[in-house]
Each structure stands twice: as C-alpha cells, then as structure tokens.
Symmetry: C2
C-alpha cells in the first residue's frame, strides 16, 4: 500500500522560550524539577517576568519529532493549532521551511499561540511551564481525513489529552488511520501527563496504539509498578512495538518476541535535554518507516537524540540526514 | 560628579532571527557576505520564507552592548523604539530582566517591532538583513533629558543614522550629554553604514564624539584610506579615545599620547560572530566607567567579545561578571 507521508504528527503547536536557571529558582517558585506543568496566561506572564533573558524557538513535542523526521529526509505532515500572530508565524515558518505539510487553519482571533517556558538547569535537565493558548482550539474539524489515510504512521503526543477538544481530534485521527490500514503511535509525553490521564492511556495502549514511545518513569507510571520487567512485559502484551528511552543508558525496544536493550551514545557536551525523547522518536520512526530492523531503529533514535541535547532547544541544529551518514 | 547610570545606550531596538546558511545561499540571493543591509517588510518576509528553521532572540547593536554591560554589573539604561507586539514583548523582557532602565514608550499601532535576519555562514561570519519597523518612530521626544544628564557615558550606534528621525534624537542626546559634562560614544556599526553617512560621521568624530568604536574596515572607510597607520593618526587627532577591533588579532587603543595593540583571546569553538563588536564595547566601557587604564579596558573588551562568538546570538550566554572573574 503506497503512502504519501511516512509520518503525520499531531500535537500541541508551541513556541519555546528557553532560559537558563539555577535549581534554587525552581525551588523558590515551587516548580518540581523535570516536570511539565500547565499554567494560565497570567501565571505564564508572571513567571516570565521573573526569568532572565531568553531565546525563542519553535517547540511542541510532536512538532519536534516531525521536524527531526523532515531533517532526516522522511516525508512528513503536521497538524496543530496556532494563532495568526508573530509567534504563530515563527512556528509556521520553522515547520514549513523543512518541507512539512502543515494544513491546520490558523486562528484569526482569540488567545495567542502557545508558549512553553523551558527552564534549563545547570545539569541540562529542563523544567517546563506551558500556556496552551490557541492549542485549546484544535478540534476534530482540523483532522484532514485524506492526510491521515495517506500517512503510514500517525504519531500523536500524550499532551493532546490536556486540551479538552483535542482528545476528540486524537480519537478521530486514530480511527481514520486504522480504517485506512495504517499504524498509530503515541508518545506518553511525561509522567505527570500519564498521571493525569492514566486510565485512558492504558486503554489506548491496550486497544488502539501500535507503536508506543515512553521513558522509564512514564512506563512505570502507566503500569503502576516500580518494576521495569513487569512494565515491559505488560506493554509487550499491549502494543506491537514499544520504544522505551532510558536517558544516558540508551533504550529498550519491545516487540512480540523480543525485549532488547540498546546502549546510548556517548555525549561529551550535554547542554539541554529538551527534545531528547522527541528526537529519539524521530530517529526511530525514520528507520521504522524504511522497514529497518527494530535494533537499528533504536540505534538511530539514540543517535538523533544525542545531537539535540548538545545545544539549547528541541529542534535539530544540523542536517540530520548528513549527521546520520557521518555517525551511524 | 556623581552619576546614576554608568552607560546609557541608544539604538535601533531589534529582534534577531538567527539561521544557519551555506555561503552559496548568499551568492544566489545577491547578498554581500558580512554586510548589514536595510530591507522593507516585504523583502524581509520573502527572504525569511526562503530561510530554514530559525531561533529568535533580542538583538540591536547598542542594546547588545548595554545587555553586556548590565551582565558585567554596570548601571545601565537603554532607549530604542519597539511596538507593543509579541516580538516587542520579547525585546522588552530581555532588556528589563537584566535590570536595565528602559523608558521608551512602545508604539501601540503602526509597523511592527524591527527584525534582523541574521544569516550565519559555516565560518561563523554573519550577514544581516534588517527591517527597521518601529525603529523609524524613535524621535527627539523619546530622549529623556534627565537620564542622559545622569549617565556618565551616552553610547550610540551609527545605525541610528538610518531611520530619518533618529538622527535628531541622536543629536539631542549628544548635546544633552555634553551640556551635563558627560562623555559621548559612537560605534561606527559597519563599513556599509559608514559608506552611507561618511561626511556626517567624520564631523561627529572630529567635533562631537569622545570615545569612538570601530573595526578596521570601518575606520579605513571613515578616513578614506587603505593605510591603517594613517587612519589611526587621524582618529587620534579627533577623539579622546578610539577602540579599534581587529577580529582574532585583538584591538588597538588610541588615546592622545598612545597607540597600543592588545592581542586577542584564543577561541577554540567559534560559532557565530554576531555581537562581537557590541560585546567588545561592553567590556571596554565597563572598564572605562571604573577608571581602569585603557590597556585593561581593551583586554576586558577582547575577553567579553570572546564569549559571545562561541554561541549563536549577540547577547551573553553566561553571567559576564563571573566570566570576567574567572578569565581575566
């Protein structure tokens, strides 16, 4: 079955505001290190006012993954809601400049394009406060059936479960994909997000999702266990493939017959871990869509993730196609 | 005579859009490498659409210098015109977060906050296309006499000669500073800018400016010579102090009795030369405002410039006060 797009991504379309902080800034402001929390516009503005000079760049978990895939040479599309404002123009430009098909209509009025304050600690760990803005206006109407049906994989982020209407959009896309005989993929996003939506995510994993992405914390949270071997066996019963990232240790790839560990890449200059999981998914799915064996897919995920953590921001800094040629 | 501010900066308030390009992109688009050219909004948009994914951060030559001075611990103020839009909010935040007094009223309507497309070549050289936007609305009315009179040095960029009304603002500030017995300082900005305004810049250097900043090309262009020793002797007759940057070779400091060369700092990881001259001025003026000898001021300029060229963007990535302690 031919397809037009290797991967379609659907997610919260967000511009990141990146700023270095000391850990005691997080403590003083009662923000759990490593978390992603949702904040309203006023809280976002107040926190921003306390933060130092920042840089802005496009973000959004699934959007980062799709940007990585496009840079690797995959054929990609993306759906996510922005407003027609200056930050929306930045997001739109960065997606479109990579040749990604981006059909979602922009809001002409209402709340502004989403912003995520990404606070990077000296140890490169990132802590995020997200104002969802226009993301709350992504609805079923934004899911273009033709694009879903012509995408080999539809990849969605767990964060889509946060804006109320986006769940329906997620379910519609999932259903369209399966009806067209395509694969569905979910990233669990973060353990706090899994905590908020555990029952629904469990049902998705059990019945709807073919390829699951998670880190260890998220998988343990999903299966309510402290034992990774229990969680790995559980997800093996649920999903066709699960790719579990383990930070510097690499990843574990779970399929019907196998659970294999793949060691991580050595990184000398760790700067900002933002986007590590997103870019792992990009590398993995790029291999997957080329029918490479799952071990190679995992290696490609590790490698692509190792690039994004050497600089500020969650989008690749180099042409990943060339990077892969030079490093794999 | 006591002062409230060590340095007041006045300049074009700009948000930078930073993007990596190959040199042949510049050739194809007829853009001289290393230049700063002014473009209208339509041309800016068309060029942006051709460029790859970018990062946004606050820029503006004098604003970069003032940000550097604030990070070094100087007492600073800045005047420049932005619109009350999202990119204006980014600029405002980044200035204010450093504790810089920023009294300029924002435009509530009209053209948007200025943007500079900064195209960074593989050799770290930057080429700029600037859409002046709201900068054209900086007028004499924006020059707060009390702030000028209470600033030990008023530092202005040559680029202010591009928006028509800003010249009058520049002249007003210069006159207010001298009437209060303060020092005036000018950065020649770039050689193309000197080419546009040579006669007026010569008059400024001869009659109005106490401390001149330039690189070698700009100084040669100003004095219409290919011989640096001729240019250095000419500027020695005109300005109390001239600080001439020479790229990797360091700088030459000219005063009434001396012309001294100060070797540059070794930089292993050159990434983006944007802001090198601006941050040199920050380091130099920080020393100058503390009455350090001119040789030390030059060393501080070299050192601070060496930090900003190791990463993308024209604002310091680290606390410069600490950086100076660790490296001087």
């Amino acid at each position: 079955m031919t397809h037009k797009f290797d991967v379609l991504g659907i997610g919260n379309a967000i511009v990141d505001v990146l700023v270095n902080v000391e850990d005691n800034f997080l403590t003083r402001n009662d923000i759990p290190k490593g978390s992603m929390q949702l904040v309203d516009e006023e809280t976002s503005e107040k926190l921003y006012a306390k933060l130092g000079a920042a840089i802005e760049c496009s973000g959004g978990s699934a959007a980062n993954t799709i940007a990585g895939l496009a840079s690797l040479g995959s054929k990609t599309a993306y759906m996510g809601k922005i407003k027609d404002d200056q930050l929306g123009a930045v997001f739109d430009h960065d997606i479109s400049s990579l040749g990604i098909t981006f059909p979602t209509a922009k809001d002409q009025s209402g709340v502004s394009t989403a912003r995520c304050l990404v606070m990077v600690s000296p140890d490169a760990e990132r802590t995020m406060c997200t104002y969802l803005g226009a993301c709350v206006n992504l609805t079923e109407q934004d899911i273009d059936p033709e694009i879903v049906a012509s995408s080999a994989v539809t990849y969605m982020e767990g964060y889509l479960w946060d804006p109320e209407q986006a769940k329906a959009a997620f379910r519609k896309a999932m259903s369209l994909a399966h009806n067209a005989g395509r694969k569905t993929s979910l990233s669990l996003s973060d353990s706090f997000c899994v905590g908020r939506h555990k029952q629904e995510f469990l049902q998705l994993a059990e019945h709807e999702i073919d390829i699951l992405f998670a880190n260890e914390d998220e998988l343990l949270m999903l299966y309510d266990t402290q034992d990774m071997s229990v969680a790995l066996k559980a997800v093996q019963q649920h999903c066709e493939v699960a790719a579990i990232t383990r930070g510097a240790k690499g990843c574990t790839i779970v399929s019907a017959n196998d659970i294999i560990d793949i060691g991580g890449c050595k990184v000398d200059n760790l700067v900002d871990t933002t986007g590590a999981g997103d870019l792992f998914a990009a590398g993995f799915l790029h291999g997957y869509s080329r029918n490479l064996d799952l071990g190679t897919c995992g290696q490609m995920g590790n490698l692509v993730a190792s690039e994004v953590i050497t600089h500020m921001g969650a989008r690749p800094d180099v042409n990943l196609k060339q990077f892969l040629v030079d490093n794999l």
